[in-house]
């Protein structure tokens, strides 16, 4: 224990001696949150909408109401029949034009689907995509409501209308930052935990101090514990900073318990630290360690974890690979705790996977470290 403390204290002093690395470890996460929070914010609100209501029925006015009430759209222009709709978008007086064709109300009353048309300014594809999504779900919801009402009036039993009824539960406003924070935590912890442990061990190999430690009576477990603990603490600190910043800047609140959050995070971090140590037993130079770390943990934590790209939409092969990415499982738990206010019980599977990963990496790393010569 004393030897472990000697190693940990030395590690902390070295980290403190190098202000850049400290800023990297603690400041970078918050910086990236701000960066990603604002840059990757896909939220679109108060979209300028022009309307051409050719139907003029009660149903068409209801549909319009649904658009306005959603607050995603503001009606900025009303076009009459025969107006040049293209001109409206070209003049940028509206980002989208909703055309409600003649017969919309009648179609609904007759129990048919009411078709509407949406013209979109596609200059900004991401925004256009988002608007399309919003409009689609608003229209579908309004449609099905109106259709139900019409069918109820005629006494026909309502067909199963749940087929198309998009509804977003735990993040009802589709606020991207909400969704982003857990992903960011998973990604940044990989950055601090894997890279900094791997680099710190490889640096000692490069400078020859590792050899000096290896002739001392420090046991491998003591060495690993002493090396990993400071980075564990720093990573937890970074997590706390991200959560705090997310709350202050983006109003993201942790709905679940902080203890659950802590437990899940520590479990994830143990695996990450073990992975960093494992890399350090393979790489002999810091440059190599950095590259291996980047390829095997950072990129997957960003691309294959569901942080940026939804796993659901991935090709089957990729989707299978994501199961090997611990960040993916961690993300599921984190989103549950932060967004849904869930406990740990529903995520036993993910937690077990994270624990297995941690045991595997730490075990393998200590095996390789104690067996090594030179």
């Amino acid at each position: 224990m004393r030897k472990t403390w000697a190693v940990a204290r030395k590690e902390l002093r070295q980290i403190a001696r190098d202000p850049l690395s400290l800023v990297m470890l603690i400041g970078l996460p918050a910086f990236m949150l701000v960066l990603y929070g604002f840059a990757l914010n896909f939220d679109v609100r108060h979209v300028a909408l022009a309307v051409q209501d050719l139907d003029g029925s009660r149903a068409s006015r209801d549909l319009l109401g649904a658009f306005v009430n959603s607050t995603y759209f503001d009606v900025t222009a009303v076009a009459d029949a025969g107006d040049d709709l293209e001109r409206i978008t070209r003049m940028r007086s509206a980002k989208a034009v909703l055309v409600i064709p003649r017969g919309y109300g009648e179609d609904l009353a007759a129990g048919r689907n009411g078709d509407v048309q949406l013209l979109l300014d596609g200059t900004d594809a991401t925004t256009a995509q988002t608007i399309l999504g919003y409009a689609g779900s608003i229209a579908a919801e309004a449609n099905s409501r109106l259709l139900h009402r019409a069918l109820a009036r005629t006494g026909t039993p309502a067909p199963d209308m749940t087929a198309y009824e998009p509804r977003v539960f735990y993040n009802p406003e589709l606020r991207s930052t909400q969704f982003l924070v857990p992903g960011l935590i998973g990604f940044l912890l990989m950055l601090t935990a894997v890279l900094s442990t791997a680099m710190s061990v490889v640096r000692e190999k490069e400078r020859g101090t590792m050899e000096q430690i290896r002739v001392s009576p420090v046991r491998t477990a003591e060495l690993i514990l002493g090396k990993a603990t400071p980075y564990l603490v720093i990573s937890l600190l970074a997590t706390a900073i991200i959560i705090l910043a997310a709350r202050v800047l983006f109003g993201v609140v942790v709905r679940g318990s902080y203890l659950d959050l802590f437990v899940a995070t520590v479990l994830y971090l143990l695996g990450a630290l073990g992975f960093g140590l494992l890399i350090s037993t393979i790489a002999d130079t810091q440059a190599l360690a950095f590259q291996i770390g980047l390829l095997t943990s950072l990129l997957p934590a960003m691309l294959l974890s569901g942080f940026i790209f939804p796993i659901r939409t991935m090709p089957a092969v990729l989707r299978a690979i994501t199961n090997l990415v611990p960040a993916r499982h961690f993300l599921v738990v984190l989103r549950g705790i932060i967004l849904k206010g869930a406990g740990l019980e529903p995520y036993l599977e993910q937690l077990v996977l994270l624990a297995v990963f941690a045991i595997l990496t730490l075990g393998l790393a200590s095996l390789r470290m104690s067996r090594r010569e030179a």
Partner: protein, 317 residues
Amino acid sequence: MAAAVELRDLTKRFGDFVAVGGITLDVQAGEIFGFLGANGAGKSTTIRMMCGLLRPSGGSARVLGIDVAKDPEGVKRSIGYMSQRFSLYEDLTAQQNIRFFGGVYGLHGPEAREREQWAIEMTGLRGQEHRLTRELPGGWRQKLALACAVLHRPRVVFLDEPTSGVDPLSRRRFWALIDEMAASGVTVFVTTHYLDEAEYCHRLALIHAGRLAALGGVAELKQVFAGHAVLEVECPHPADALDTLSDAAWAREVAIFGTRLHVVVEDAERGAQQVQEALAATGNTPAQVARIVPSLEDVFIHHVEEAEAQKAAAARR
């Protein structure tokens, strides 16, 4: 009493390459044992096997009676090691380095403080202990590295070229420290390729290409020239002279030392005359031919040449 270090046919191969080819020797407790060899002779490899950092490919190394390969943990507490590369934390202060190494050796409480003071005193770093190690001059850093290696009072210390890259005055002080340690009963196993430093050692092993070429005290080793004389020759073209004299049957050994030649002959006077005549005949008349007291370097070269000759003979057969 058992020897502090016993090597028995200690061997290390890297693939097909034999870095250490079967070394057998004993080092007595309290001895300063010098391990001499050219670059790549296998000095570091041998030391690293003795510290448990490398596994021998054959033979054994016993330190304080314990087989290092079988029980590396068993000897760690009793040995100190200073590697060839400077291996303290340059981004920590002298004191922080001392505390770290004390810590990993399990020192604590009053003992740790006492050893820390001892290390600061011994290195002469009092008042400088809060300076970063990277800012310290080479001689100090080397002494600090030694202090860190022996904080835990090991009974056997392995020093791998501890004085390389250090100025002569610091080297002298460093050897004074080693002398003190040995006087207090610590066994010191030290490698060097400064032949002048060999004079500080009680006994020496000369190794060449991974093999023991000679073993003994300095005076003992110089005995190889008993019954012979070493002549130093100064002439205009030493390289040509080397060719000329190498062909002469009466010159037992010829070697270049800087701008001069050393020639081993049976009789000083007759040999000097033969050298004069042989070189004059090729228009390379020597300015001076004088008998000298053989240095360790002569001894070393003698053994290397002998080893090479044996190898060549073996290859011919």
